[in-house]
């Protein structure tokens, strides 16, 4: 089982390194690329958790759809090869202070508190059929209502995006 | 619902009727009708009141009626009048009446002006007829808020500044009041807001000790208590004529009336204990206002400071806590209301002609506008306490009453207050001499026209009231005195 562990640590390393690089990069297009790596690594985590469907969605929606949007937006708004002006040092320092404070704070809490016995249940992959019926069902622990809400929201979102972005 | 409520309803009806008025003539007609009805009503009330008393009805408040308004806090709309309120209602009616005539040519927006004017007056009437603490407070607020717009829109000079200052300071006062009203409600048992009921109970002395200054100061702000008087010079100087009249004539009386009706009546022990602090302040007011008036050059400022001095005398007399002085205080409220309204009316009329209020730029007006000139002299004489005019009776009642208190502080302050009559003479005669007598300063003034009929109506009504009060004071002082007796009785019992 070592292989799983190794993969996990590799993914963790990738996420850590690339997320930090993503937020620090001077070029937007690089940031977007690093973000892509982060998202893909996350997808890898889902795979480790045996959520294959989630993995697929993550790759398709995030890494596929959203990233394409980002890249388009970046290409539309940025001149290629030009760095962004660095932000004021004070702002960055303050942001680092706050986020590291939050990190430490939450880390301590997790370190001290998460000691519950848990089981790792292996190989319990959720069949897509079950996912589909749960998503469409109306009973307890079934999700037709959010599903519909999301669908309407997506519609609204499409309309809204078109309305906002179109030329006047 | 009894007939006292008509005092509140008539202004509201007038207000409603004004909404349909189309031109200035109709507006004036409606406003004058409303004001006349109120004047008649106050006459009827006086007659009924005296009649009822003559028939031997000696309950504290006559024409009582209650209507539940908000049960959880025991808020009632309860009305009732005694001699003091009747006197105040007469005063309000007279000043409303003359105020309408004094603003016959108000510009711009006559309709809106009268709308606010009548709304304000309904608040004032409400305040005087109600005997429920909360309703009292509500009507008090109704009377204050329109002032902001009336000064801010129709005023002159630094009107926005003055309106803001006046409203903020008076609001500050009413914040103290709200606090004290809630305190009184809570400490008197928390089940009634009715003044008469609360008076029957005993508010613990510890509570009185801080509720009394709150109440007194809250009302004192409106009564131009030193050092909370500074809204008065600016406010009066900027306000339009009728508003100055109503404000100095009636609204400042709300302070005195409230201090007497709420602070002294409900908290006699604390009144005895803390009277000396406020006595000193009011003593300062009296003399300080007079001295300040001596060097002012703006007619309205002179009058505003003189109001500080005279209203200081009202609070001063109330704090003497004896029957004679308190009667004098109420008389002084009446007298000051009438004469200061007359003053402001005349100043407005003179200003409307000369377009200046600086006494250095006027002179010899007596020859050009004799009617206004003579009226101004009469107002001045009333103000400096000439026998036969209202000021004298009021001031003498106060002085004699105050002198009956044998404490050293009271003695000294009484003598200090008495000296104000000389200083008053100094500044009144200075103004009269400067603007009315002597040579005409500005050749353009030579062609000014004398008072029109509506101005005459307004001025003559006030003069008649002043002379009537000053030469036949007995009936009204009796009426007031009889109503003050129970309050003084309670005060004496608290000793």
């Amino acid at each position: 089982m070592m292989i799983k562990e190794i993969i996990f640590y590799i993914l963790a390393l990738v996420i850590t390194v690339f997320s930090i690089m993503a937020v620090n990069s001077r070029r937007l297009i690089r940031s977007a690329t690093y973000l892509l790596f982060v998202l893909l690594a996350t997808a890898g985590l889902y795979l480790l958790l045996d959520y294959h469907y989630l993995f697929a969605v993550q790759v398709a929606v995030y890494a596929g759809g959203i990233m394409v949007l980002f890249i388009f937006a970046i290409l539309l708004t940025q001149k290629p090869g030009k760095n962004i002006r660095p932000e004021p040092l004070l702002q960055r320092v303050m942001a680092i202070l706050l986020s590291s404070a939050g990190l430490i704070f939450c880390g301590i809490i997790i370190y001290q508190s998460v000691n519950r016995v848990y089981h790792y249940v292996e190989k319990v992959e959720i069949p897509v059929k079950e996912i589909g019926s749960t998503l469409m069902g109306t009973g307890k622990y079934e999700y037709i209502l959010p599903f519909e809400a999301i669908s309407i929201m997506l519609l609204a979102c499409i309309v809204g995006a078109i309305m906002i972005a179109r030329k006047r | 619902m009894n007939f006292l409520s008509i005092f509140v309803i008539i202004p509201l009806l007038t207000l409603f009727a004004l909404y349909f008025a189309r031109n200035r003539k109709q507006i004036n007609l409606i406003a004058a009708t409303g004001a006349t009805l109120l004047l008649i009503l106050s006459g009827v009330l006086t007659y009924l009141y005296l009649n009822e008393r003559a028939m031997g009805n000696d309950s504290l408040m006559l024409f009582r009626a209650d209507m539940l308004w908000y049960a959880p806090f025991n808020i009632y709309y309860s009305v009732g009048v005694d001699g003091v309120s009747v006197a105040m209602l007469i005063l309000t009616s007279i000043i409303m009446f003359t105020g309408v005539f004094a603003s016959w040519r108000i510009d711009p927006l006559p309709k809106e002006f009268f709308l606010w004017f009548f709304l304000l007056s309904s608040g004032v009437y409400g305040f005087f007829i109600t005997i429920d603490l909360f309703s009292m407070f509500m009507f008090y607020e109704i009377a204050l808020i329109p002032m902001y717009l009336l000064i801010g829109i129709w005023g002159t000079g630094r009107k926005e500044y003055s309106a803001m200052k006046l409203t903020l300071m008076l609001m500050g006062g009413s914040a103290l009041l709200l606090l004290s009203i809630l305190g009184i409600y809570y400490f008197s048992g928390g089940d009634t807001m009715n003044l008469l009921e609360i008076a029957q109970r005993h508010i613990p002395i510890e509570a009185q000790r801080y509720l009394f200054p709150l109440t007194f100061m809250g009302f004192g702000v409106l009564g131009a208590l030193f050092p909370f008087h500074t809204w008065s010079p600016d406010g009066h100087a900027s306000a339009p004529t009728a508003v100055s009249m109503l404000h100095a004539g009636v609204l400042m009386k709300l302070g005195g009336y409230g201090a007497f009706r709420v602070a002294i009546y409900l908290m006699p022990e604390a009144a005895h204990e803390q009277a000396w602090i406020f006595l000193i302040l009011t003593g300062i007011s009296v003399i300080y206002g007079a001295f300040s008036a001596v060097v002012q050059t703006d007619l309205k400022y002179i009058n505003a400071y003189s109001s500080v001095s005279h209203c200081g005398l009202v609070l001063f007399a109330i704090l003497m806590l004896n029957e004679t002085a308190m009667t004098g205080a109420v008389m002084q409220m009446l007298s000051h209301g009438l004469m200061t309204a007359l003053f402001f009316a005349l100043i407005g009329m003179i200003y409307g002609r000369t377009h200046t209020r600086l006494i250095t730029e006027m002179g010899g007006l007596m020859k050009i506008i004799p009617f206004l000139g003579v009226s101004y002299v009469i107002a001045g004489l009333a103000s400096l306490g000439l026998p036969g005019l209202s000021g004298f009776v009021a001031e003498m009642t106060i002085f004699v009453g105050a002198f009956q208190e044998s404490g050293t502080l009271q003695r000294i302050l009484t003598i200090v207050a008495v000296t104000s009559i000389v200083i008053t003479a100094v500044y009144i005669l200075r103004v009269v001499g400067k603007i009315l007598f002597g040579k005409v300063q500005n050749p353009q003034h030579e062609t000014l026209s004398d008072a029109t009929w509506w101005e005459r109506t307004s001025v003559v009504t006030l003069i008649i009231a002043i002379v009537a009060l000053g030469s036949l004071p007995l009936w009204i002082s009796d009426m007031i005195q009889n109503s003050i007796m129970p309050i003084v009785g309670k005060l004496m019992a608290a000793l």
């Binding site: 070592m2 799983k4 562990e5 996990f8 996420i15 997320s19 937020v23 940031s31 977007a32 982060v38 996350t42 985590l45 889902y46 958790l49 045996d50 959520y51 989630l54 969605v57 993550q58 929606v61 995030y62 959203i66 949007l69 980002f70 937006a73 708004t77 940025q78 962004i84 002006r85 932000e87 942001a95 680092i96 986020s99 939050g102 990190l103 939450c106 880390g107 997790i110 370190y111 998460v114 000691n115 848990y118 089981h119 790792y120 959720i126 996912i131 749960t134 622990y141 959010p146 999301i150 997506l154 979102c157 809204g160 995006a161 906002i164 972005a165 030329k167 | 500044y161 200052k165 903020l168």
Partner: protein, 123 residues
């Protein structure tokens, strides 16, 4: 975190591992959100924050309540919503770019009270 070291090499990936990764991602996103000026960078940071939440949902579901699917679906919906959000946000960004010719967050001042004009009214 002790669990990570205890279980190191045992082949079992502890829950804390996932939580810590998501934690790092979350605060990196926060950092990006607070420190960057570009609207697109802010958006990228937001994506990271949302993503870190997704990881938690999935991990908790798998580790604590493996028989149920709440976390799973929540992550699913979050992904959908973040997609919507990104689409709209990017539309807005492009619109802003058209109007202002840049995408810096500080240049959005239309609704802000002007700072220099201190209208000190005398009272």
């Amino acid at each position: 975190m002790g669990a990570i070291f205890d279980n190191f090499g045992s082949g079992v990936i502890p829950l804390e591992g996932y939580i810590f990764i998501s934690l790092i991602m979350f605060f990196t996103g926060i950092y990006g959100f607070l420190s960057r000026k570009s609207l697109l960078m802010i958006l990228i940071s937001i994506e990271m924050i949302l993503n870190s939440a997704d990881i938690n949902f999935a991990a908790f579901n798998r580790y604590l309540y493996p028989d149920q699917m709440e976390g799973f679906f929540f992550a699913l919906f979050t992904i959908a919503i973040s997609a919507c959000e990104t689409a709209v946000a990017i539309a807005i960004v492009i619109n802003i770019y058209r109007n202002l010719n840049n995408v810096e967050v500080d240049s959005l001042q239309e609704l802000q009270e002007p700072e220099s004009t201190e209208t000190k009214t005398e009272i």
